[in-house]
Amino acid sequence: MLNHIWAFLIIVSLITAVGYDTYDEMQDTYQNGKPFPAKTFCKPTFHSSSGIKGEVVLEPEEFQQFYGVTANVKECRLPISLFVDSTGNGTFLLELSTDAPKLWKTMAQSVSATEQLRGEVKGFSLGKDGTNGNCSLIFEPIHFVKLKAITNAAMSMATTAVEIALGLIGIMALWLGLIKIAEAAGFLTILTRMLTPITRRLFPDVPPDHPAIAAIIMNVAANMLGLSNAATPIGLKAMEELNKLNPKLGTATNAMVTFLAINTGGLILIPATAIAVRAAAGSNNPGIIIGTSIVGALCATVAGVIASKLLQRLPWYAMDKEKGDSEKSHG
C-alpha cells in the first residue's frame, strides 16, 4: 500500500508538472520576450552612475490586459533600478513588494528564488519634469516553472528530513535515559498495572506487564497534553519494545498498527497550535475549537482502532503474505 502511494505521489507530481508547463508554453502565460509597457516614477536626486532608482507604477487594468488574466491585482508602486545608456536601453532590476502581482512573484521565484525580477529595458525616456518616464520592460524568459519547483521541493525536503531527524537526537537521548531509569526503578510496571483492563483488549498480543505497554501509555498521555517533545521519543521507545516481540523483523505487527492508529488519531486535549493561529488571526473566541477538535480526534481514533482490528484479519494484510527478512534488517 505504501509502495503504491509513494509511487503515486511521485508519478502524479511529474505528470502534473509537465502538464502545467506545457500549458504555460502553449498559452504563453508569462508573455516571454514581449515588452511590458511601464510607467516609471524616478526620484531625480537618485540619478547616479550606479543606475537610476525609481518606481514602477503598476496599473491593474494594464497588467490584466498584458497577461490576459482576470486575477485581482492591487495598484502598487514597485522599486526599480535602471541601468541604461544614453539611448535609453539597458537592463533593470525590479523589487517585488508584498503588493506585487502573484504572477510576477511566481516568475521571480522560478528564475532566482528571490523577490527580484531582472530583464532588459527598451526606450527609457524621462518626461520634461525629469521624474515621470516611460519604458518597455522585457523580463527574462520563464520556462518550466513547475518542473523547477518540484526539483527544488525534492532537494529542500530531503534536507528538511535530515534536520528533523538530527533535531530529535537530544530529546531522544533525554527521554530514553529517563525511561530507562523509570524501568530500572520498577515504575513502569506500576503504571501498566493500572490500565491493564484497557491495554489487554487493545493489544492482546503484548503481555500486559511488558515495557512496551508502559511506553504506549506514556506516549498517549504526552500526546493528549500536547507535549510533542516528549511524545515522539517515548513513542519511538514503544515501537522499539513492540519490535522486540516481532516475529518477522521489517514487517509491522498488529500491535504496532493499533498503536499507530491511536497515535495518528491525534487525540489532544488542547490543540494549542490551532488556537494560537486563531488568536493571531483576531478571533473573538480562539478556544472555541477545543470541544470540536476532541470530537473529531475521537472519531479518528475510534475508527482507526476498529479499522486496525478488522483489517488485520484480511488475508491481503496477513503477516506472512510477504517474505520477511529477519536476518538482514536487525540493526
Partner: protein
Amino acid sequence: MAELFKNIVNLISIIAIPAMIAIFVVWAVCKKVRVYEVFVEGAKEGFTTAVRIIPYLVAMLFAIGMFRASGAMDILVMLISPITDLIGMPAEALPMALLRPLSGSGSLGLMSEIMKTYGPDSFIGVLVSTMYGSSETTFYVLAVYFGSVQIRRTRHAVSVGIIADICGMLGALIICRILFGV
C-alpha cells in the same frame, strides 16, 4: 466551564515534564538504582534511533514535497469536490482535509491563509481549525515510527491511517455543522 477545562489542562501540561523527571529520579534513588549510569545507558540509544529514521523520512517528505510543489493538489481538489459537495463539505475546506495527513507545516500555512481570507470565526474558519487541531500528520508519523524500527512492510497501517483521517475529518465537519452550522 470550557475556560476552566482549558486552564486545568494547561496547568497539567506545564507541570507534566518536570514532575515526570522528578518522580522518576526520586523513585529510582529510593530504590537504590544507580541513576546516572542507567540514564547514560538508555540515552546512548538516542543518536542511533534518530539517525535510523533519516532514510524513511527523506523518502516520505521528498515525495510529499514534490506532490505539493507540482500543483497536483488543485487537480485532486477539483476531482474530489463533486463527491464532497454531496455531504456538505465546503469546497474551501477540502484542501485542508487532503493536506492535513500529508504535511504538518503545509497545513499550518494553509490554515493561516484560510483564516485570513474567511476570518477565524466564520464557519469555514472554525471548521478548518478544528480539522487542523483534531488530527495528526499521519504520513509523517508513519515514516518516523516505522522508520525507527526499520519496518518497511507496513501491512494495513496506511489503510488504517487513511480510514481514521477520513472519519476524523467527517467527524469534525459534522460536529461543526451541529454546533456552528449554516
